[in-house]
């Protein structure tokens, strides 16, 4: 049962020669072939390149190279540019786009010796919370294929939960790693804004986007984040600060850790959800942590603030998709305007268009102050609220989502209800804070997530807190039936 092993265990098996990367890669490719048709978690499979990369990793290992990710198979969210491989961003617009370069995240993980099996399905341009806006069709939740896996990194989450790879990458603009991680029962980490390079990651909302990881445990996530994080001179918003040793920090005792309980997260929280969080807090108290109630008065404004800032940035970021240089171009354009209108009209899906229109509106003359500028001010207030809270506590704990995975089709026609699914995750993006979701139990057989949010650059502490929780529980090692 190699696919159930942790990255650490796989590494040991590889270095002992018990298995080769090629064998491991074949095993995961076979799982994808068998299990993915029911899930639709992948847009592109790169089996041939994967076997070549695995063989190369085996040679590197034979030559004496070590490294925790050498020869480990992964799946990248299809938002990361991958040299020579289609990078669709879940959109018809880029269905024909083969990236001519590797994103920094891809390059770093490649250098670490990982083996890419394919590209994961996602909401179109990362806009969605259910993976239903993808041009390639919805992804199914392995725990119940009538349910969504969450979004926008739905394919990455489902693939990690179904063990189609040792780990997967994702991006989180408003919860796109943490929410699907919660809904599929895996551990998802969204690092501090600027911790991981955005270069080569197709932009949705530049000031909010951050790359991260889906793994079966915090310990695995620590290994992956170690390889992903760090300054990139090609991303002006990446931060030139040393990267701590995440795996080494996993076992630090939590005695005296001050955990903040966000009043705004618990007000009106569904009883079963609240009870799971309550159970988790008991474990943390047992590990020596203290819990304190804190309040972030402006946090309830997160969703409306986000739905001004993110669309504003996306309306501009997506202007480059104009049918001129790459991507979808309409047939027989009559003139320039026709080329623009039809290429964009036919290339983009409904949710993307909705956000481009919203964003264009809030940036328009006469509306800019009332929407964009006001939203930026509220964003500052939310950031200040978090800062004040972190003067009292080391990290904040709450639910990742209000409910477990919902049915495919249930919310797609009601954008506002859909948007509210991110109510607990958006705050961390607006403030640029790291967040982590880890499995903490089930409601009606569907996994639920516990969310940890820390101050800037506290990834080591979040992983540490998640790891010790996972040492005391086994929620993270449960697998959906049929994928064990």
């Amino acid at each position: 049962m190699l696919h159930t092993l942790s990255i650490g265990e796989l590494g040991r098996s590889l270095s002992s020669g018990e298995i080769s990367s090629v064998e491991l890669t074949r095993l995961f490719l076979a799982r994808i072939e068998r299990l993915n048709p029911a899930l639709n978690a992948l847009i592109t499979l790169t089996a041939e390149q994967a076997l070549l990369a695995a063989a190369a990793a085996d040679r590197r290992r034979a030559a004496g190279e070590k490294g925790p990710l050498l020869g480990i198979p992964l799946i990248h969210k299809d938002i990361f540019c991958t040299d020579g491989v289609r990078t669709s961003c879940g959109s018809r617009m880029l269905d024909n786009f083969v990236a001519p370069y590797d994103a920094t995240v891809v390059a770093r993980l490649k250098a670490a010796g990982t083996v890419m099996l394919g590209k994961a399905n996602m909401d179109e341009f990362a806009m969605g919370s259910s993976n239903e806006t993808s041009f390639y069709g919805p992804v199914k939740n392995p725990w119940d294929t009538s349910k969504v896996p969450g979004g926008s990194s739905g394919g990455s989450a489902a693939a990690a939960a179904a063990r189609l790879a040792a780990f997967t990458t994702g991006t989180d603009t408003g919860g796109s790693i943490r929410q699907p991680a919660a809904l599929t029962g895996v551990t998802g980490v969204k690092p501090t804004y600027g911790r991981v390079s955005r270069y080569g990651m197709i932009a949705f909302a530049s000031s909010l986007d951050q790359a991260g990881v889906f793994a079966r445990s915090a310990a695995d996530a620590a290994i992956v984040l170690q390889a992903m994080a760090g300054f990139d001179p090609r991303d002006s918003t990446s931060i030139d600060a040393p990267v701590p040793d995440y795996p080494a920090a996993l076992r630090e005792p939590l005695k005296g850790l001050k955990i903040g309980l966000l009043r705004e997260f618990f007000d009106g929280l569904e009883a079963r959800n609240a009870s799971l969080i309550g159970d988790a807090l008991k474990i943390y108290r047992g590990l020596g942590a203290e819990t304190v109630e804190v309040s972030l008065p402006h946090l309830p404004l997160s969703v409306p603030t986000y739905y001004v800032v993110a669309p504003a940035e996306c309306s501009s970021n997506l202007s480059r998709f104009d049918g001129v240089r790459f991507g979808y171009r309409c047939e027989n354009p009559t003139d320039l305007l026709d080329l623009y209108k039809r290429s964009r009209g036919e290339g983009f899906g409904a949710e993307v268009k909705r956000r481009i229109m919203t964003g264009t509106y809030v940036l328009s003359a006469g509306y800019f102050d009332a929407y964009y500028l006001k939203a930026q001010k509220v964003r500052r207030l939310i950031t200040d609220d978090f800062r004040a809270a972190f003067e009292q506590v080391d990290l904040l704990i709450g639910p990742t989502t209000p409910t477990p995975a919902f049915a495919i089709g249930a919310k797609i026609d009601d954008p506002v209800t859909m948007y509210l699914n991110d109510i607990y995750t958006i705050g961390a993006n607006l403030a640029g804070l790291p967040g982590l979701s880890l499995p903490c139990g089930f409601i009606e057989g569907l996994p639920m997530g516990l969310q940890l949010i820390g101050p800037h650059f506290s990834e080591a502490k979040l992983l540490n807190a998640a790891h010790l929780f996972q040492q005391a529980t086994d929620w993270h090692s449960r697998s959906p039936r049929g994928y064990e």
Binding site: C81, S236, A312, L318, V324, R325, A365
Partner: protein, 480 residues
């Protein structure tokens, strides 16, 4: 007919002379085959990000310091959103509310020698767009993105100019300045230096500005003057016939010498400016400014003042000779050993014979066929009275066309001035003897005939008689 006052403000785009683009590592060299200097960043490929070129910032700061402007410690790059095929990202990265260079001012000398202060509102960094090419393409438009991302400094003036000539004088001064600072090559044909002119008219004495038209993309001083003059006449005619000027963007057609409407305010884009989230605000500290300040060269106004003060040149001469760094350097090299007492002579020669030869043969001063040292040698022969100024002009032509040394020409052609009093006296005696009637007339009061005798002596000596000596001796002989 009312008395109209013209109001002009200029937005000058100076292409910064950086080696690479403002947000990518691509080269900025002009004239490469289409799209050979366009990287993935310039092509706005999915996922790419801009990284600011520090050299462009340094150049902008240099400019700011040279006009006495405050350099913003905190400025912000913003996105100007509009769709156009030569704008790959669908937005231009520029600076909007917070530019890097704040208010400054510039002294401009007008044709009548008067000095006027023109305010500079701001200068900001931005990227240039690519080019759309239509020639040689049937039913298609070519896009060349070599220029996309080239750094520009947009220098915005106050509406302080009151006529086309003032506008040109201001533009020339900025042109001089950016070349002094070596931040722009000033090549207007290649589009490295161009401007948009905002033009309006109002009845003289009224405070409120008239409605303005913006004339886009003027790339020569002559076109600026002609376009403004055309536009002023058009607006006055329109107003006097009861019409109103509409706010619009106009294009100048140099073939027809007219401006015509491009788009009105109503059709104008809503650019939806907002801070670019891919770039952090530009923070400039005191140390950076101080470092840049230490690299400032002597500026044109400072050089002109020094020429006037130390060399006793007129304000006009000092202004002309400091108009370019190269001209100033040439002049100073000429003056170097001749000394301040001969500065006026050197100035006259550099601005006169040398400049006309350069213009006539279309040669840059740095490529002059007569080097500063050679010209200095020629002037030294005037100063030491070896040759007269008049002969010197012939020698100069010889030096220019043949490239020979001054003394060789004087020697070979026997042009050495006659300074031997005895020799000159001999010639004078012969002339007096040959023209008894003129001598009698002169002595009876026809003073004007003095010139006739000078001419005769010069003719006889081949122009080589020392004029001062000739004058003195001739006067003495005629009145004896």
């Amino acid at each position: 007919m009312a008395d109209w006052e013209v109001v002009i403000g200029l937005e000058i785009h100076a292409q910064l002379a950086t080696k690479s683009k403002i947000f990518s590592g691509s080269a900025t060299a002009y004239g490469a085959p289409p799209n050979t200097q366009a990287s993935l960043v310039d092509l706005a490929y999915p996922g790419v990000l801009p990284v600011l070129n520090a050299e462009a910032v340094r150049m902008a700061v240099k400019f700011g310091l040279s006009i006495g402007a405050e350099v913003a410690r905190h400025s912000v790059f913003a996105r100007k959103n509009y769709f156009y095929p030569d704008l790959p990202k669908g937005y231009q990265i520029s600076q909007y509310e917070l530019p890097v260079v704040k208010k400054g001012k510039l002294k401009v000398m007008l044709d009548d020698g008067a000095v006027k202060i023109i305010g500079v509102t701001r200068a900001h960094l931005e990227e240039d767009a690519g080019k759309s090419l239509h020639e040689g393409l049937a039913n298609a438009t070519g896009i060349d993105l070599n220029r996309a991302g080239t750094p520009l400094l947009e220098i915005v003036s106050e509406p302080d100019m009151r006529g086309a000539k003032e506008a040109v004088a201001y533009m020339k001064k900025i042109h001089t300045l950016v070349r002094y600072l070596e931040i722009c090559d000033g090549n207007m044909q290649e589009g490295s230096f161009r401007c948009d002119a905002n033009v309006s008219v109002r009845p003289r004495g009224r405070d409120k500005f008239g409605t303005r038209a913006e004339i886009k993309n003027l790339n020569s001083f002559r076109f600026v003057e002609k376009a403004i003059n055309y536009e002023v006449a058009r607006q006055i005619e329109l107003l006097e016939s009861g019409g109103t000027v509409v706010q619009e963007t106009r294009l100048y057609d140099s073939d027809k010498d007219e401006t015509r409407s491009m788009r009105s305010k109503e059709e104008a884009n809503d650019y939806r400016y907002f801070p670019d989230p891919d770039l952090l605000p530009l923070e400039i500290d005191e140390g950076f400014v101080a470092t840049v300040r230490s690299t400032l060269p002597e500026l044109p106004d400072e050089k002109a003042a020094r020429f006037a003060q130390e060399l006793g040149l007129s304000a006009y001469d000092a202004g002309v000779l400091s108009a370019s760094r190269e001209l100033g350097a040439y002049f100073e090299a000429v003056v170097a050993e001749l000394g301040a007492t001969n500065a006026k002579l050197a100035a006259n020669w550099v601005m006169g014979e040398l400049s006309s030869a350069l213009n006539r043969d279309n040669v840059e001063i740095t490529q002059s066929r007569v080097s500063p040292a050679a010209l200095r040698g020629l002037l030294a022969r005037i100063v030491d009275a070896t040759i007269s100024g008049k002969i010197a002009k012939d020698v100069f032509e010889e030096m220019w066309s043949q490239g020979e040394a001054v003394d060789d020409i004087i020697e070979a052609k026997g042009l050495k001035q006659i300074t031997d009093s005895g020799a000159i006296e001999g010639v004078i005696d012969a002339v007096i003897a040959a023209n008894p009637k003129q001598v009698a007339d002169y002595r009876s009061g026809k003073d004007k005939l003095f010139g006739f005798f000078v001419g005769q002596v010069m003719k006889a000596t081949g122009g080589k008689a020392n004029p001062t000596q000739l004058n003195d001796l001739l006067k003495a002989k005629l009145s004896s």
